[in-house]
């Protein structure tokens, strides 16, 4: 029986290339045996043989289905094992699952994208999607915060993205070093100075829970309505298919009704940020 009728069975995928982003984050370019098409923002369950499965959001453009890039921070059992793997090794992929970024809702608007840490991974997939038809958007404002200059992901994109027409990319680090000339401070601090056409803007946020919480509060303070804010929620997940129960949030399953959720959907639930 193949993965077609067994939703729990992963497609084998060869690790084609590994890019070291930071001391704890690597991007894995994988080539699934059968191409996997996904929409930007959706996630996959990645099997690390012998270590288990974990959910990740592809960081590559959804226009490419032969290969998929996944940017992963080593934090525990499966991710550390994955970081020890080499090009040519085999992993498994199930998916895609969950909701995508509502790209159509962003068209014609000023899009504010706020990322924290490895949270820039799903946002890169979104950015690549927006860049592909940049004429559709009024402006793309990207604000990104990392812990230290070393922890910044996609350093090789910084110049390229900052030079892009209609794109305004500013970074900050929590803690600088001797050679760092850029901003120091939390990413929320960068939001104060923004001059936005609020009535015509949507915000997309992805990062650690604490960063998402304070960014959301800041965005509300600036004047965004809850319905203008898209969040990538992170909950413990096992099945990815709305069956195992783990990812429940209020009346939703984050694996099915998320991971991309509009803040107005969830704002009244207790324990949203935990």
């Amino acid at each position: 029986m193949s993965s077609i009728n067994n939703p729990y069975y992963p497609i084998r995928a060869k690790i084609e290339k590994i890019i070291t982003e930071t001391p704890t984050i690597k991007t894995f370019v994988v080539r699934p045996e059968t191409p996997i098409t996904f929409k930007t923002g959706q996630f996959v369950e990645l099997t690390v043989p012998g270590a288990g499965e974990a959910p990740f959001t592809p960081s590559s453009s959804p226009s490419i289905s032969e290969t998929m890039e996944i940017t992963i921070m080593a934090v525990g059992c499966a991710t550390k094992r994955l970081h020890a793997m080499v090009e040519g090794d085999e992993v498994g992929v199930r998916g895609p699952y969950g909701t995508a970024y509502a790209v159509d809702e962003l068209k014609g608007r000023e899009v504010l994208i706020v990322g924290g840490g490895v949270g820039l991974a799903p946002l890169r997939s979104l950015l690549l999607t927006l860049f592909a038809e940049i004429e559709q958007y009024k402006k793309i404002i990207l604000r990104y915060g990392a812990r230290t200059p070393e922890d910044i992901v996609y350093k090789y994109h910084i110049d390229e993205w900052q030079k892009k027409e209609k794109v305004d990319y500013v970074l900050t680090v929590d803690k600088g070093n001797e050679s760092w000339k850029g901003n120091v401070g939390l990413v929320t601090k960068l939001l104060d100075a923004l001059r936005l056409d609020l009535k015509n803007s949507k915000a997309v946020v992805c990062g650690p829970p604490i960063m998402m919480k304070f960014t959301t509060l800041k965005l509300l303070e600036i004047g965004y309505t809850p319905a203008d804010i898209y969040l990538s929620m992170e909950k413990n997940m096992s099945c990815g298919l709305g069956k195992c129960g783990h990812c429940r949030l209020g009346t939703y399953y984050v694996c099915e009704d998320g991971p991309v959720m509009r803040y107005d959907m969830i704002k009244d639930f207790r324990g949203v940020w935990e």
Partner: protein
Amino acid sequence: MHFVTQPDYPQLWERLSEECRLLHPVCSGDDYSMSPVDKKTDFESLIFNAYRAIEPAKMFLFPVKEVVCGEEEGEQPASKENQKKTVIIGVKACDLRSIKVLDHVFLSGVCEDPFYKAFREATVFVSSDCSGYKDVCFCTWVGLNPFPEEGFDVNISPISGGYLFETATDKGQELIGKVKKFLAEPTQAQLDQREANRKKTIEGLNKQMREQGFTPGLDHERVIRDNFDSEIWEREAERCVECGACNFTCPSCHCFFFSDDKQKVWTREKNWDSCQYKRYARVAGGGNARQMLAERLRHRYICKFNFYKDILDVYACTGCGRCVEACIGGIDIRKVANELNK
């Protein structure tokens, strides 16, 4: 509706056991335990179970652990043995309600669970009215009657001298069609007796509950929803030892997790999980949606009385009382609801 005489009842099952796998309750102390009955069984000794069995019906559709991916090309959903038609006899209204919940989880949504589906399709539910109740039963408190009203293929009602068999589905019709020679047309008096028996069980159970302090008409949904911040959660959680018995014994609890074999790489097992375990909601970086035991306890009640009410318009708590019996800390879901309502 058909009538089957008392002496014919065991013969009917003996005849069906030639073709299907049968599970029938057998006495186990004051309880009933679901057991396979086959050629070796003394059919004359089969007794009608007055109330639900120890085992929740989910066990036969959603095993404690199940291999869902094998080393080769994935795994067949359910082995040949399991796909053999299985007739589960003596399932009560409470467990049928739980199957409604499980069907929703495993057969709707983004995809079906092919493993559950295979078991489900091969299962025939022959339910029965309760002619008694346990001291922990409270189905009538959570919107059910102690006799099946939906979700069965065949339902049995005990009356004097025998049983009434009611078929509700093609599956049930087909099963009963094999034993036509045991079926007689029921009299109006027999039908009336069924109604009278049912009424008697409801009244008896309600009386027992009233004496226990559980007054009919409690709005569980509101009580749980309005008391999110009650300190009762913490007080109750003090006695919880996080064993997960409430979840495992509950007919409607369906959470599971995958565990991948460390040696036999690509082999994946689906295992029952418990929302009372701390790791259940843990995420990378040490975050946890329900760090505290009291939050996890509350989560279970919210799941039963709010979540499923919202999405399926039923309580996922069926009133079977199994968790009341199972909890070594003595946490009693009825008393918790009562306390919260004070």
